[in-house]
Subunit: 250 residues, 2 copies
Amino acid sequence: MPRTIELAEARLAVSTVIFAREPGVAHDELPEQPVQPADRSLWIPLVRRLRAPGKGRWALPGGWLGAAESLEGAAARTLDETTGVTPRYLEQLYTFGAPDRSPDERVVSVVYWALVRPEETSGSIEDPNVRWFDADDLPELAFDHDEIVAYALGRLRTKLGYSQIAHAFLDETFTLAELREVYETVMRRPLDPANFRRTVEASGALVETGEVRTGTPHRPPKLYRPADPAEAGIQGAFRIPVAPHLRRHP
Amino acid sequence: MPRTIELAEARLAVSTVIFAREPGVAHDELPEQPVQPADRSLWIPLVRRLRAPGKGRWALPGGWLGAAESLEGAAARTLDETTGVTPRYLEQLYTFGAPDRSPDERVVSVVYWALVRPEETSGSIEDPNVRWFDADDLPELAFDHDEIVAYALGRLRTKLGYSQIAHAFLDETFTLAELREVYETVMRRPLDPANFRRTVEASGALVETGEVRTGTPHRPPKLYRPADPAEAGIQGAFRIPVAPHLRRHP
DNA sequence: TCAAAAGTGTTCCGTGTACACCCATGG
DNA sequence: CCATGGGTGTACACGGAACACTTTTGA
């Protein structure tokens, strides 16, 4: 028995939560001191809102959906326009559409999440209204963007455990220690270097380049690159448990 | 360097992929013969499109987003209006918004997926334009709905492996054999009854009701109900691997 | 009393984890 | 030559899987 429904005059927005291992140009100054990878944090660029609603607050980079572009295309475009960042990995996260999430008009936001390499963040726009924040130490954000970031962080931690996305944080070639540091940073716990090496090597997800990184004060580590997904195939999968030892009675 | 973008005049639709273990009233007649749970299939209700575009084709139940309702609310409402089904489990799946997915106007669809109990499907609308289909034997659907259903099936199979959603297919109380049949149907492989029992019992996700199901030709099985999630807590988790033994060289 | 499903016990093996140990380089 | 991170070897515990076995009912 369909009753009459007033249709929503909703505007369609696209926003992106971008994660990087290092902040881009503008960020809160921190005293530089050596930290363990598991104690390091992730960085997220935010944009200050110049208009109401939420004027003055920090918000996720985003914008309106264009007529001819795909959702992912809109995410990439608005990201580039607002922050100058071009992500290596971009995936849809969730669509937020509570009727009251924006005060004046109905806005439905398709939210993406992205991973970028260090070099990609360096091209980010220098603007007092764009700033990189520690993902674990964010200010209060506009709209429901706090909730969105928390959701994205959860997804990143989970997905890292069963997929190969960690590569998207790194340059073309990298050492196993660098890859391990990504896992340690995201999962916030140390990993055994020996076991990590074996797990990754056995998976076939990486191939040696034959090069080593020199200039370190110690034994030069081998450089790897991600295996062609086609070659890697099913065997390319490896699993790094997100939170082990939560099994037995705590 | 933001160039001018023509904003999309997109309409916001909501659709739902509904899964049930048994078809509702109207479905293709199949000769009733005993089948193994792992050989049984899932059922999905579809609605015949009465208007262009895609007139005559089968499509996912859905409709337009109402002004005052949440996305999930819209999914539940349109589902009820078109099929008469009220799902026990309803979760957002993905948002599809390719510019050309609907021929005339731009439509962005927020798609949900749902699980229903046998009793809930029996209340479904009797209408020649609503029919239940075998999820593994669908006709060619309108728009990009084939792609959507395939995506939803993948998510169901994956999520069943690490969450408790299987309950949503069953009545208030159920036997372990019934729960196991859900897993066998969705994962399309047989499970060892002994190991399944131990895994589930050890997890604390179920509690015995103290009752047994009588009337079977054999030993009466105990009836269980889902544990209160608060009590179950972290220990409430158990994992049934989706596809084991794909590890070593095939 | 018998067939068949419910439910229990036990063994085997892959995988994650800990940790001792060797290797190679810049300072 | 030595401190340090790169890289290898190995032993152990846990949990998934296989499967033999006992229990309980209706017909």
